[in-house]
Amino acid sequence: MPERNTARKIFIALLLVFAATLTTLLCRQFSVGPARSSPAFRAFGPETAKIRIYEYTDFACPHCRLTDAHVNKMLELYKGSVRLDFKHYPLTSIHPWSFTAAAYADCAGGQGKFREYADLLFEGQEQWARSKDKPREFTEYARRLKLDMPALEKCAEDPVTLRRIRLDSAEGDLRGVDATPTFFINGKRAVGANQLLEQVKKFDNLLKQN
């Protein structure tokens, strides 16, 4: 009889393991788990905003460049109602310099110029994205913005900076991001400008509801 009871317990324990695993994996898939906030320099809008957006972007991706203008307009239009956390998702297998670009952008952010540096990266994307050697544009943009160059160079190689970008990327993988730009708008996924704009159309209703 004790053996039979142990077998029953093992069976129930296995069922519980299965249920816990399935629940956690489903929560991962539907992004139910907590999302990390971006550093302050690449988080825009009040923390209490009713609409919360996580944007996964690659500076070397042409679609991201095209979508960036819509994102800026949206932030302007819904100022105070939208919070956007900018996340790096460099697709390094096809864009060899996007990771470095993300590092420079974060370091410019550390000096208070993330948005400006990001805009320059998008503007000049065609010049630097396919470069064979390390693009000169990264330092050129920094000079244009009058950033502290030695500090910027040091920061761009700092393991803490690189780690932060890798974490964003790993988080994107976990949330099933496989194309850029991908947005999570109050938990709902939107890929590319068209899907983003479709969601933006619902913002007025969403804000009225709450």
Binding site: M1, I12, L16, C27, R28, P34, L167, E171
Partner: protein, 153 residues
Amino acid sequence: MSGKCEIKEVLGLAARLAAGGVFIYAGFLKASAPAEEFAYAIESYRVLPAALTLPAALAVPWLELYLGVFLTAGIFIRQSAFCVIAMLLGFEGLLLQALVRGLPVTSCGCFGASGSNSLGHEFVQNLAFLALAALALKYGGKFSLDSLIDAHE
């Protein structure tokens, strides 16, 4: 005499649910976040070789989650509570050596990225969890799957 016993059992049940809940919460938060995040926290304790931090970060959250579920449901209570106590003692060891060595651990990794208190605070908090797990081990048999199955002769 029987009244005393009941209080012990109620306390044991509460402790079992609390300790199990904490382990489910900690395990779920970490298992649903990128493993790299927890791996970086493990690295900052400078105990494991770099090659082992990611495998550890992949395994520990699931272990916490399963132990938490077992403890909450009350299945294999003794074994689960022993494992929980062993894990908590291990965490205490890690925290203590970090405190003694003065390591700059900014996030203890205890509850994923949802904020972290000072190492001292986490150490004391774990002592409370240890007490709960010990209570669960000794008196946590009430309303458990173990007792239900054992009664079903």
